[in-house]
Symmetry: D2
Subunit: 275 residues, 4 copies
Amino acid sequence: MRFNVASRLAYEVRDRAVFILNIEAAALRHQTILSETLKLTPAVALERHDLAGGTRLVRVVVEPGRFEVAYDATVELAMLDADPSHVSETPVAELPLEVVPFLNPSRYCQSDQLGRFAYHQFGGLPPGHERVTAICNWIYDNVEYLSGSTNSETSAYDTMVQRAGVCRDFAHLGIAFCRALSIPSRFASSYAWQLDPPDFHAVFECYLDGAWYVFDPTRKAALQGLVRIGVGRDAADAAFATIYGDAMMTDLQVSIAPLDEVTQAAPTLRAVGIA
Amino acid sequence: MRFNVASRLAYEVRDRAVFILNIEAAALRHQTILSETLKLTPAVALERHDLAGGTRLVRVVVEPGRFEVAYDATVELAMLDADPSHVSETPVAELPLEVVPFLNPSRYCQSDQLGRFAYHQFGGLPPGHERVTAICNWIYDNVEYLSGSTNSETSAYDTMVQRAGVCRDFAHLGIAFCRALSIPSRFASSYAWQLDPPDFHAVFECYLDGAWYVFDPTRKAALQGLVRIGVGRDAADAAFATIYGDAMMTDLQVSIAPLDEVTQAAPTLRAVGIA
Amino acid sequence: MRFNVASRLAYEVRDRAVFILNIEAAALRHQTILSETLKLTPAVALERHDLAGGTRLVRVVVEPGRFEVAYDATVELAMLDADPSHVSETPVAELPLEVVPFLNPSRYCQSDQLGRFAYHQFGGLPPGHERVTAICNWIYDNVEYLSGSTNSETSAYDTMVQRAGVCRDFAHLGIAFCRALSIPSRFASSYAWQLDPPDFHAVFECYLDGAWYVFDPTRKAALQGLVRIGVGRDAADAAFATIYGDAMMTDLQVSIAPLDEVTQAAPTLRAVGIA
Amino acid sequence: MRFNVASRLAYEVRDRAVFILNIEAAALRHQTILSETLKLTPAVALERHDLAGGTRLVRVVVEPGRFEVAYDATVELAMLDADPSHVSETPVAELPLEVVPFLNPSRYCQSDQLGRFAYHQFGGLPPGHERVTAICNWIYDNVEYLSGSTNSETSAYDTMVQRAGVCRDFAHLGIAFCRALSIPSRFASSYAWQLDPPDFHAVFECYLDGAWYVFDPTRKAALQGLVRIGVGRDAADAAFATIYGDAMMTDLQVSIAPLDEVTQAAPTLRAVGIA
């Protein structure tokens, strides 16, 4: 299934600034970038680097003045589409060892501190995709989606107490629970089809049955319409722009639209993954 | 109902130290001290002060060497004994204003941060003694009693995440939930009948229907056999000994025994209070 | 020295609400209320209670609609005015025992966790008023006054790390350091002469040499022009309005003006206290 | 310079357990493993994986009973040895982009929250190796090395307040400060020559002038005698053993000895790096 994605960022740069941008579709096995353009105004030189996990970084150095970024791409998602009841967890003894670091706690996902709760609440459920779905359901039922209730310092530890947050907080809590249960889990920023209002969206992925399956405990986007951008330990690894210098964002627009008719099953009925 | 209570503390004082002791039965309306002795060895001079809430402080200045404290008392508890379904919450509009500060968050009871959860989980229950019992049941079911799992810095915020603790942590969490629901709540250290092994015990009290009713989410002690010692905002107000100087505790023994045959109903069936 | 103080609060009450107001000048020994009026519009019935520490609470139950509070008072401050080098700390062995609870940690002042730093940084300084001034100087030099940088959940623990805050954060940090050094310390909200822009202001007081001396690590107000309102453990005890129900503040105005010519020495040169 | 390193681990495995071991010398450019043996008793099958950063993971599945691990290696360190005043910081505009993720906050290194302090305290110092040394000096002067004062949940945020810790806490604080100042920084566990008593040791490395230079704010080990084991974001990435299952460590012995005469300058006078 193909999607057109686009983002427009505008900044007022007050003093020479370095931007590390992460808005391009990630380089992942089942996510094929059919075409893309990145237009910078003014047309400053850029440097690129693709991180091991698929995240694609762009660096530019920008002089004072207005700075605009326009990204457009057509991306094909050849996603896994499995019966959730057939997608099992992989025991730690059998995990690919390169996946093991995604069991470690991270800045916003203190899986080491949430372990007792995770075991108590979810430890008795049958392992597999459906257990992670149960985790997402718990988050959906127990955390209120509330814009402005959290900030860039809020972690899963806080959300567990305060029970409010936005998409990144929901994802962080899901990641923390999964890692506590020995399910490798990572954060993904994305272009999210059907997200209303349109914006960058945060979801998480679990390594199950040989692939990374995606979960959205906010239930705000369609799982088969998520074009991944930044993939990492948590939101600290997936900022769409990190600025070293003095610049203020003046505009942000994000869009995604399907090019094909939607034929896949509803995300709540099917497991959707990406390798 | 009458109880004999006793405590024995021993310290090795290495450098002149000031002790603020809080081991005597509190001065409360329904808790009558029939007799008591406090023996200090060596027999240093002591000063006393009873705080407004009933907590009785003793201060001694101790020179280097062994220091022993022996307290013995006979205390009569003329406790309230009501049908829980008849013990209602008092709306804030009708609370005695001197009780209102027990709605404020405190060091270990961040009721301001636990409010959303408390409302979500307990806000829909019928108000009254039975709602606080439901809170205690939740704590009992969701927090593991685990010696050594916490320390003197652990707060309700932490326990909400980590789901393990000892009696003071259970009490702090109960207090935080109750205050979040506008139920005045305070901490009480106590001599606790049937606590095994014997030790000082922490419980909490809620102001309901004109009196302070006691709750023990650990279910480790008999509610009708709690001789209150320190009563305050939280454990910060109820340390059995605060030492300014260099001393090490070498022994601690606590005991309580009923002098009368037990006739009261089981605590889980009756509301037990003290004014 | 006499001051006129005034405050105007306006609320849009959307559903029956209980207000606990704390805007009247506190009942303190050296703070004499020469006259005062509290006008409520609509003229709902009010209840009063003076807490042991001097804080005066007012409770009103308000029906939906606009609700206005107007407080005016003339207050005489007969403040202590001492040479700071003559104002000593009182050893714990000699403190009035009713003051001892102000050594305990509280919601926003985790003196138990800040102790090592406090000893390291301030433990070697000569005890007394000048040591607390050194603490205030450290806070002034090391914490940035930055409106909007903190919220109602921010504690001294956070401020120690994040190094930004507003007056209540500055006061909380000062209190935490002082308690860690065994100096009884409390929070005071106030009408603050020379504060620009006018607002309620938070300062802290230490029990030194038999009286409560006031400190303002923000250096924003004149110490001899502080009319105390709420006095307590920390900001949790001194909210100017606590609302149970659904109401939104639509206006807040605070003012203070001296009635007499200012004759006292500058606050940085003199110790200013209130018993 | 060559070192013999060795470690002996013993466990009582009570139920089938998966071990992820990380005790072998890391695969780094300037750290050559001349020979090594890893002996497991019983001789269970093992799997290996070298992470991108050089950390070498070993996985074994162990049945109940005694389990012993013996690692011996001879490692040559061909370390950079530069005049610290010539080792500069690399501006973000010029950093290799693969190094940029080491600017992100991590589980134990909340550089996002420590930024204001880091700028205030170290922002004015001339950039370069000597600035990081100043950071280490500050940590050494302001944090007490105190065994048992922290646990596996303690982060730089806590250490900033509590001012006590062990080597991993010292390293985490150094990393957090450096990242806040836009200096890429990572954690390294190590065999540490001259560490007394011998143990695994935690240090940190900064990317300066094209290489990773090592720092030890505890001053407990010789910088030119550190054989790196696990290299990652923070201690979460460098546990010497992570156990999934039920096993208890019964013995741990660590040793390191130089094979060559020491000829390098003292670490406090020279910058020591590894690429």
